[in-house]
């Protein structure tokens, strides 16, 4: 076995010393192809390659007894996170139930320490399944080097990759613990060499061969002992983003794989059509010429509305124009400001020389751009750069100063507000999932969720939402409440019925409080399980770089069957109190985070940390909630820590043009009563950095994308 490794490494050295002189100044290239599992690698062995920044992979692979369903994410061209369910066809998880084969969750990470260059290989370290139940624990150091079309890999592994059997590895064994026994154990563990070669025959076809350091018969699921430690096969890319894999593993099993790798870009399946630049027509120019301030305000407001903006209010005096609007058109707020300024510039007469462009959100101004018309023109026509533009313009959080400046003692101001529609609606197709239940691995409920929003007066909202079930498997889920007065573990009670359910019927009011503090209160049915009262205040500081808020809810359990009745069996009030802290940690990379500190729904006091990256209008993040659980009666709740990951993707990936709107899919740990919150009709505590002045400043060039 070791002879094979030596042969491989000898080949590596020969290739290396034989070709480095011939490489000259050519930049090495590499392809981060998926292994049979979700991580980048050869088959079972990792390489030092990783997915490029903000690229994701969805992966299926199969070599009996293992079937892998997973994904991976590349970050900053330095990190790769990967996770998967491993189904083991040699083990039945719960005999007598419909769950089927055993399924293990595991995750891992790889860090590139040194990037490849002409002389040196790429060097990475990584680990997988090193916390929790740790059925497949490994850690490794690996080197990869491109030589001509050959990508050569050599590594040192420990844990399973070190050739140990699972029983010999010291590790934690409970699924809900954050045990790092193996991950941080000393380096004197048994170590083995692994390696392999990937030959890129052409851009679509790759031949891959590896020497595996795994002792298969000692792994979880106990596959047969390998006839030889070599795995080989081909990877074929019929299209840019799809890879098909096939080969032979361990000298015993055929394998198959399918991988979809793609960048997270807001322009998705369809190419975006370019929106024509705004040009005024002869009629508008004539109307503008003849208009007084009021007529001009009306003309501008109507034009902004017909261009697709909501909540438009325009005020005009003899020298300046004031616009408030909601960006209902573009993902980028900067782009929306560019469009608004272009419309103003095309229509308003020469006497108007100052523009105040106010971006509004939930009835509150969140950003105000004040610019001289000529400077704005110069910036839009790229005659002035961003720094030059800000010499004469200002972009500020909130707008009290500008408001005082524009409206103070000016009798010639005329204002026109577009009469808003008093209601709107949408319909969402939703899927709720319950994973890893004894009754079946993937139990789900599919329903249509129509929502009507009514706006009775300024900043007021009445939200009504129904759930019409199309398919329901929650009635099969085996999951009993963990507490006498459960917070969340009674979810089956609320989801098992297929009758229509009012999932929200609430009044929500936003208010502008003194000192630029945003406020909100809500009352009504908040979700299928809770009804009550909620209130929140929040204020941003330092161009939106950080913020602080307070939040509280007082809710009661709803009756699971009667839409308009509170529960008779659980009559207590669940109170929550939080301090919300928000901060942009690394603004240029879209890294921000939030801390929710206080009392959660189950009366447990603690903290919830959320870290996320919002980049190119996708957000990927994770949260971890640790609270004092002593008062829970069930051991599972006492040991629980709420955690999960989520992805938010923009609707625009399904569209042929830039558009707003997004969807979030989250994946959390086992349902427990610890660390729970209640849904509200709207929130002030920010969910992404896009609303901040800091973000608009950094993307100001988007204003020119017209």
């Amino acid at each position: 076995m070791y002879l094979i490794v030596r042969v491989i490494w000898l080949l590596v050295l020969l290739f290396y010393f034989g070709t480095t002189s011939a490489l000259g100044s050519e930049k090495p290239f590499s392809k981060p192809l998926a292994s049979l599992q979700s991580f980048t690698g050869i088959w079972d062995m990792p390489t030092a390659r990783i997915l490029p920044d903000w690229n994701i992979r969805i992966k299926f692979g199969k070599a009996e007894p293992y079937r892998y369903y997973g994904g991976a994410l590349g970050l900053f061209d330095r990190l790769e996170f990967h996770g998967q369910f491993t189904e083991i066809s040699s083990l039945i998880a719960f005999p007598g139930y419909d769950y089927g084969y055993y399924k293990d969750r595991n995750a891992g990470m790889r860090i590139v320490l040194i990037k490849e260059d002409k002389a040196w290989p790429q060097v990475a370290i990584g680990a997988y399944d090193s916390i929790g139940t740790s059925k497949f624990p490994s850690r490794y150091l690996v080197f990869s080097k491109m030589i001509s079309n050959f990508d050569l890999t050599l590594g040192l592994g420990q844990g399973l990759l070190g050739g140990e059997s699972l029983d010999d590895i010291e590790r934690g064994t409970t699924g809900e613990s954050f045990d790092t026994t193996f991950l941080f154990s000393d380096l004197s563990q048994p170590t083995r060499v692994f390696g392999g070669i990937e030959y890129h025959y052409n851009p679509k076809l790759t031949f891959s061969l590896e020497y595996s350091s795994l002792q298969y018969e000692g792994m979880f699921g106990e596959p047969e002992e390998a006839r030889w430690p070599i795995n080989f096969g081909i990877k074929y890319q019929p299209t840019k983003h799809i890879t098909l894999q096939g080969g032979y593993m361990r000298g015993r099993e055929w394998m198959l794989g399918l991988s979809a790798d793609f960048p997270l870009e807001p322009e998705g399946m369809l190419p975006w059509k370019k929106e024509p630049p705004y040009t005024s027509n002869e009629k508008q120019r004539w109307q503008s010429y003849e208009a007084d301030n009021r007529q001009l305000a009306s003309l501008l407001a109507k034009e902004l509305q017909s261009d697709g903006f909501y909540g438009v209010e325009v005020s005009v005096n003899d020298e300046a124009v004031w616009v408030e609007y909601v960006n209902s058109k573009y993902l980028s707020h900067s782009k929306s400001m560019g469009r608004v300024s272009q419309i103003l510039d095309e229509i308003v007469p020469e006497r108007i020389q100052t523009f105040y462009i106010n971006l509004s959100y939930n009835g509150q101004i969140i950003q105000c751009l004040k610019a001289d018309r000529q400077e704005l023109q110069a910036f839009m026509e790229t005659r002035v750069d961003k720094q030059g533009f800000f010499e004469f313009a200002s972009l500020s959080l909130y707008n009290s100063e500008q408001q005082a400046e524009f409206f103070h003692d000016n009798p010639k101001i005329e204002t026109y507000t577009i009469q808003e529609v008093w209601f709107d609606y949408d319909i969402n197709l939703k899927v709720k999932t319950f994973l890893n239940n004894k009754a079946g691995f993937f139990k789900h409920k599919v329903f249509l969720r129509p929502r009507i929003n009514m706006y009775p007066w300024e900043n007021g909202l009445i939200a009504g939402e129904l759930e019409f079930t199309l398919l329901n498997q929650f009635d099969e889920v085996i999951f009993t409440p963990l507490e006498p007065e459960p917070v969340r573990t009674d979810l089956v009670l609320y989801e098992r019925e297929s009758e229509f359910r009012i999932s929200m019927l609430a009044y929500d009011q936003h208010v502008n409080l003194p000192h630029n503090i945003l406020g909100r209160f809500s009352i009504g049915l908040f979700e299928s399980a809770y009804a009550g009262f909620g209130a929140e205040i929040f204020r941003f500081f330092d161009k939106g770089r950080w913020g602080i808020g307070l939040e509280a809810e007082f809710v009661r359990k709803r009756d699971p069957e009667d839409n308009f009745k509170l529960s008779d069996t659980i009559t207590k009030t669940f109170d929550t109190y939080y301090v919300n802290l928000y901060g942009q940690i690394w603004p240029s990379q879209g890294i921000d985070g939030g801390l929710k500190i206080g009392q959660f729904l189950g009366g447990d006091v603690g903290v919830s940390l959320e870290l996320r990256r919002s980049f190119k209008y996708f957000t990927i993040g994770a949260w971890y909630t640790k609270t004092d659980t002593d008062h829970f009666t069930n051991e599972k709740n006492q040991n629980a820590s709420e955690k999960g990951v989520f992805i938010t993707f923009p609707f625009s990936i399904f569209s042929d043009h830039d558009r707003r709107g997004s969807l979030t899919f989250d994946f959390s740990s086992f349902t427990r009563d610890q660390g729970q919150t209640v849904r509200q009709p709207s929130v002030l505590y920010p969910l992404n950095p896009y609303q901040s002045v800091l973000h608009t400043e950094s993307t100001l060039e988007d204003m020119r994308r017209q």
């Binding site: 975006w272 002869e282 009629k283 319909i427």
Partner: protein, 277 residues
């Protein structure tokens, strides 16, 4: 006669907006020369399509095809017509009737009935092919030297993109909009032009009855010459502005009366449907 020529120019403009694929031929051309021209055109079409896209990263296949075809045609290639098509072209007079005149002022077709004002009289009704589309044309002349041209157009080779009524040189946009009730199904534009010292104004409209059928309407009338200088930032003089404004309003009202149907409730609900997980 002059007005008729200008109307012909308008028709050429308004028939644009549909695409189809062809086998190409050129006198003296062979496969090798076509391959060379085609490769060059593919490259040009690719570059222009990238420029045309919002982000410059993806290619819009419709724009790519259009640009490619324009390029190949500019290099002297023309679509090869098969026998059946040639026969169709020669039998233009026997084209299937798309619409009919019920009486002197009313036509019906594609499920729509259009009534023109009494001062107009029908001067022409004919059918013809234009590219992959069949057209039935009705032309009325008014007592005030204006014309109403109504065309029923069916695309047998593809579907229409829901574009607004186009305006291009030598015409200039005055204003445009969509139907009051018909919404995006009816797209109208008012424009004017100054050609050989003659001023002309027109309101044109597309009404989309289905993916491959549309009704095209163009109302054309002489515009008074300018009196004096126009104010800053505008082109028309006061007297011209007043006349075209009245003309535009008058025909907007008429168009909205002719096409009172909007998108149905089902269509509106589909528009509101989002898909989420």
């Amino acid at each position: 006669m002059k007005a008729a020529i200008k109307i012909f120019c308008l028709i050429a403009l308004l028939l644009a907006g549909c695409t189809y694929t062809e086998v190409w031929e050129k006198p003296g051309g062979n496969q090798e020369s076509f391959n060379m021209d085609s490769s060059e055109c593919e490259f040009i079409a690719q570059q222009l399509s990238l420029q045309q896209s919002e982000t410059g990263k993806r290619i819009d296949p419709i724009f790519y095809n259009k640009t490619y075809i324009e390029c190949v045609v500019a290099k002297g290639w023309s679509p090869k017509r098969d026998t059946a098509e040639l026969k169709k072209a020669s039998d233009a007079e026997r084209v299937q009737q798309l619409a009919e005149s019920i009486n002197i002022n009313t036509v019906t077709g594609f499920g729509q009935t259009i009534t023109v004002p009494n001062i107009y009289s029908l001067v022409k009704n004919k059918q013809f092919y234009s590219g992959p589309t069949i057209i039935e044309q009705f032309l009325w002349k008014g007592e005030d030297s204006s014309f109403i041209n109504i065309l029923f157009q069916e695309n047998t080779g593809g579907t229409f993109q829901k574009n607004s009524y186009p305006v291009s040189e030598p015409y200039v946009l005055y204003t445009s909009g969509i139907g009051e009730k018909a919404e995006e199904q009816l797209q109208w534009t008012t424009f004017w032009g100054n050609i050989d010292s003659d001023w002309i104004m027109s309101t044109g409209a597309y009404y989309y009855t289905s993916k491959n059928k549309r009704i095209i309407i163009a109302i054309t009338k002489p515009l008074v010459p300018p009196s004096g200088e126009p104010p800053p930032n505008v082109t028309l003089t006061q007297n011209q502005f007043m006349q075209i404004e009245e003309f535009s309003n008058q025909w907007q009202i008429w168009l909205n009366e002719q096409f009172p149907e909007g998108p149905g409730l089902l269509k509106q609900m589909i528009r509101a449907l989002n898909f989420g997980i």
